[in-house]
Amino acid sequence: MSDLVFLAASLAFFFVAVLYVYGCQSLKGGRDDA
């Protein structure tokens, strides 16, 4: 049971981290800083 919890927790963390990548990207929005 604990193994499944830790498997799920790990996958959840990295899934959120991937969303966070796209969240940081979206912060830039339509700004053209160049």
């Binding site: 981290a17 990548v21 940081c24 800083d33 160049a34």
Partner: protein
């Protein structure tokens, strides 16, 4: 403090200075995919790996793709290590002591720890991990996590160097080349050098020695009543130590093969092995300063960053050496060994190896926490309050003083962006960094990077000192107990891995919360860093003008050091004042806590 001690510290820095340039130029060639003398051997291996994995080495990645690839890789290797730990008892390979499966909380904490280059160890390695787990689960992670950090630093440097580019390189190529060209060749030679000094390297079962002087030990039994036993033999752990030791130091990982880490005579037997270990912690991070200068076309900028790191390193080692050379005021006059003279080194020798003495213990503690290594050759918990504050403060600054392999460089570059921004505010111009305008997006994400770190540390530490589960692990009352908790979460979030070893962190509370702190401290900081790199890569280069702030000058170095100290001091001073600073003041007043 002695002239001999200072001489050893000076020799260490001189050797580092000599090694930084060739190392940095070599890494620049490796990551720019230029010819090196190892190509005839490693080129075919690299091509074979790409062929097997289906990687196109010429495909470039945007920062989002680079970050996603890094996250997927880290997730997969974390789960692999967790599975290996849980199944080690069932694998009939390299487990001569027939060690059982690792308990789930501990296995997850350890998998998170090694994936994030932290190498915090809530366990005693020689009684917990099989040789297979040590080699295939932990030592491999030492390579992977180090190569990942280096790849990320190179991605950031490319972000500064490239003009109007949407990409930062290829994560898989950077990971492979860092492992094959940088880490593996050095580790092969380094491991043999360690073996020559007496570091063990075998797959034998543990030895048993008969004690010359048998010991009588009284300890609580299963029913809680004291049980007295006569101990006549000692088990002497063995294992493939040198091979793990080499990457443990070079990759700033820090996880000991034995519980005593680099204080164990099988891991760090001689003063020469000690010097090699300290140098190898700083070798790649110092070299990366030269790599930075080379790749961005401004060698002076690389050396300015090197100078800032050196100033902070020297301030740390001088403070720690001074603090540890002071006798404990409660023992001074009572125990003559606290005074310098004869064969006594004076000062505070508690928790230190006699063969290393005070100078090399203070230097090791400073180096291992300036970087994100976490290996120890002395017990930081036994340092004087201000001596112990130095490693703690080093990690709190973000481990940017040379820092972890790659992690130190990209952390420092975030501070460079902030310094340039502040310099721009001072003169009322849009800040520029090597010809690139630093604008709102980069500053917002740099601040996100800087703020996540204290949020993790102070948040978890605050909750832990309020909950019974957190308080249960503390071995000292008063400010030292707070320092233990603070150090644990600082070490976890900073991916350092060293400990105030008095804390018992092998509990469900600490194993799970520190696992979260390690993962958050690594990946939630990498993402905004990569976003800054990706944004900088897209920008045009503006020609320098009279108003451009030069980033290769002593003034820049002073500004950078000031920004780092101000950010660190403002963020963590209240917590430090309740921990080591208060302990120092109380100790001077004759008050201590059990």
């Amino acid at each position: 403090m002695t002239p001999n001690g200072w001489l050893q510290i000076a020799v260490f820095f001189a050797l580092l200075l000599l090694a930084a340039k060739p190392m940095g130029l070599y890494m620049a060639r490796v990551y720019e995919r230029k010819k090196t003398w190892l190509d005839p051997v490693l080129g075919p291996v690299e091509r074979l790996l790409y062929c097997i994995t289906g990687v196109n080495p010429d495909a470039e990645m945007r920062w989002t793709e680079y970050g996603a690839a890094m996250l997927v890789f880290s997730c997969a290797t974390l789960l692999l290590t967790y599975a290996l730990e849980r199944l080690q008892h069932a694998i009939p390979l390299w487990n001569p002591q027939h060690l059982a499966a690792v308990e789930p909380y501990l296995a997850w904490n350890t998998a998170a720890s090694f994936t994030t280059n932290t190498n915090w160890q809530s366990y005693v390695p020689e009684t917990t991990m099989s040789y297979l787990t040590q080699m295939a689960g932990l030592a491999t992670h030492n390579f992977w996590s180090a190569a990942t950090g280096m790849a990320l630093a190179i991605a950031f440097i490319r972000g500064i160097a490239r003009r109007e580019s949407k990409t930062l390189g290829n994560f898989w190529v950077d990971l492979t080349r860092g492992t094959l060209w940088v880490l593996l060749p050095i580790c092969v030679v380094y491991a043999l050098a360690l073996v020559s000094q007496g570091v063990v390297q075998n797959l034998k079962p543990y030895d048993t020695a008969t004690l010359v002087e048998p010991q009588t030990v009284t300890a609580p039994g299963a029913d809680g009543k004291p049980v007295t036993t006569r101990v006549t033999t000692q088990t002497i752990a063995q294992g493939p130590t040198a091979s793990q030791e080499a990457i443990k130091m070079l990759g700033t990982n820090g996880g000991g093969f034995f519980n005593a880490n680099s204080a164990h005579p099988f891991e760090n037997p001689t003063p020469l092995s000690n010097m090699l270990q300290m140098l190898s912690i700083f070798l790649i991070p110092a070299g990366l300063c030269v790599t930075l200068g080379k790749m961005v076309g401004s060698p002076g900028h690389g050396w300015a960053v090197f100078a800032a790191m050196s100033v902070l390193w020297f301030a740390g080692v001088a403070t720690c050496y001074w603090a540890e050379s002071q006798p404990n005021p409660l023992l001074h006059g009572v125990d003559q060994r606290t005074s310098l003279g004869g064969v006594s080194p004076g000062g505070n020798m508690e928790g230190k190896e006699v063969r290393f003495g005070i100078a090399n213990s203070a230097l090791f503690a400073t180096v291992t926490t300036d970087a994100s290594c976490g290996a120890v050759n002395s017990m930081h918990d036994s340092f004087m309050p201000l001596g112990g504050m130095v490693p703690l403060a080093n990690i709190m600054m973000g481990e940017i003083v040379f820092g972890g392999v790659g992690a130190g460089m990209y952390g420092m570059l975030i501070f460079v962006v902030l310094s340039v921004f502040i310099a721009g505010l001072m003169v009322g111009r849009t800040p520029e960094y090597l010809g690139k305008k630093v604008q709102a997006y980069e500053v917002q994400l740099s601040m996100l990077y800087v703020l996540i770190f204290p949020l993790i540390i102070l948040g978890f530490a605050a909750v832990s000192v309020l909950l019974p589960a957190g308080l249960a692990g503390i071995s000292n009352h008063g400010p030292h107990g707070l320092s233990q908790v603070l150090y644990a979460y600082t070490s976890a979030a900073g991916n350092n891995g060293s400990a105030f070893a008095g804390i018992n962190a092998n509990t469900h509370w600490y194993n799970s919360t520190m696992g979260i702190a390690m993962l958050s401290g690594r990946f939630l900081m990498i993402v905004p860093m990569l976003a800054v790199a990706g944004s900088l890569a897209t920008k045009k280069i503006v020609p320098p003008s009279l108003g451009t702030f030069p980033v290769n000058s002593p003034l820049f170095t002073v500004l950078l050091v000031s920004v780092i100290l101000i950010v660190g001091a403002l963020t963590f001073f209240p917590a430090l004042s309740l921990g080591p600073i208060l302990e120092h003041l109380l100790l001077r007043s004759g008050i201590s806590f059990s």
